[in-house]
């Protein structure tokens, strides 16, 4: 009997330890697992490294985790967003370090980490400041950078429907980093609007196979970041 369902977001993140590396899905607000992030704020782990495309907006979700001073490093491609004030302050203050990675290189590094590919050669960022200091090599007359796979201790991801085996379907462009982060973390947690029994999803349509998922928690009506930010909400 395989059942990866856990009863609450709090249970799902209970064992995150200080200094953990955490991948957090989402592109802007689409796919951001707000309830899992809030549970992580409540849980209290600190000195975290967060791998996520952005750094959140307003003072909820990822921005709230940053504002709570739990994150000492972010690996991301675009830390600036509309209504993003928390990260800039922590960055200028020197509290939170930034590793800026081109978005496609970030995605490919995460996939590589999950796929057991230790490193790979990419043409992206050659000749730019983000390529400086990196090992490079020429193949067939073109220059490539050597980039390394990224792994994490936890991945927090938002899906639409999951089954008890951990198979996941996503919603539209909220899919983004979810499927690859699910592959790259030791423990992957999915919040889904609905959890169904094994057999409830079409095996042809499954986007993330259950092997990559460790815990699923049902959050029937997840909050939307922009709606929260519009009300001036802050967490906790």
């Amino acid at each position: 009997m395989i059942n990866k369902r856990v009863s609450s977001a709090a249970d799902a993140v209970a064992d995150v330890s200080d200094s953990a590396a955490i991948m957090i899905g989402g592109f802007g607000e689409a796919g951001s697992p707000i309830e899992l992030i809030h549970a992580l704020i409540d849980q209290g782990a600190k000195d975290l490294t967060v791998i996520s495309n952005n750094c959140g907006s307003g003072e909820v979700g990822l921005a709230a985790l940053l504002k709570a001073r739990r994150v000492t490093k972010v690996i991301c491609s675009f830390p600036r967003t509309a209504n993003s004030t928390v990260f800039p302050e922590l960055y200028r203050e020197g509290f939170t370090e930034l590793e800026l990675v081109p978005q496609g290189t970030l995605a490919e590094r995460i996939r590589a980490g999950g796929a057991g590919v230790h490193a790979f050669y990419t043409p992206t960022a050659v000749g730019t400041p983000l390529g400086e200091g990196k090992e490079s090599r020429s193949f067939d007359g073109r220059e490539y950078l050597l980039e390394y796979g990224l792994k994490a201790d936890f991945a927090l991801i938002k899906g639409r429907i999951a089954d008890t085996h951990g198979n996941v379907l996503y919603n539209k462009t909220a899919r983004n980093f979810g499927p690859i982060m699910a592959m790259a973390a030791k423990t992957t947690v999915i919040q889904a609007e609905r959890i169904v029994e094994a057999g409830g999803l079409d095996p042809e349509a499954v986007v993330t196979p259950g092997i990559f998922i460790d815990r699923v928690v049902e959050i029937a009506e997840p909050a939307h970041e922009s709606a929260l930010v519009a009300t001036g909400a802050s967490y906790p």
């Binding site: 592109f27 491609s77 496609g104 539209k172």
Partner: protein, 219 residues
Amino acid sequence: MSQHTATACWTREQMAQRLASDIADGSYVNLGIGIPELVARFVPEGRTLVYHTENGLLGMGSSPEEGAEDPELINAGKRYVTANPGAAYFHHADSFAMIRGGHLDLSVLGALQVGQTGDLANWSTGEPGAIPAVGGAMDLVAGVKEVFVITQHTTRDGAPKLVERCTYPLTGLGVVDRVYTDLAVIDVTPEGFSLRELAPGVSFETVQERTGAPLTRHA
């Protein structure tokens, strides 16, 4: 802009229209944030383009009607969009496989500076204290088959944006194929900037004057 008012020049919409007329029917296109987004409005009748947005959608459609916005259906600029018939959703590694693997026909981007060898600077002014953010720009210019830049010919202060060598941090080396400005359409060739077309009433000399590198006439 004050420097330009003396000259009849293309508006942003006309620049976008001029660029749109150069895109072949059936092309797979990624439009950057800002002026590039205008291009979609001016695709000539009878041509169908398929829009890619790097956050995981091919077949992106226009903005939704009011009330139909879905916070989980957005574009790379985080704006609400729709999906056209024939669309497909995919994850970020697949999305950038399309980009890096050379499957997209065209990337349209804004610019801070374009160098005469096709170098592009469009992600950072390098100001100390600024929060650096790069997004997918470096991947797009490294991978997409053709890269068009759409930009005002000069900065607000009248400084040329087409230059011998970029002074801002680079997005990519030798990646730009063509530049559409308010004054002209200019190809980047092995011999440098080559004028392809002038905006109505604009002279070659005016364009050369406002360009920070030698300009040749199109062969």
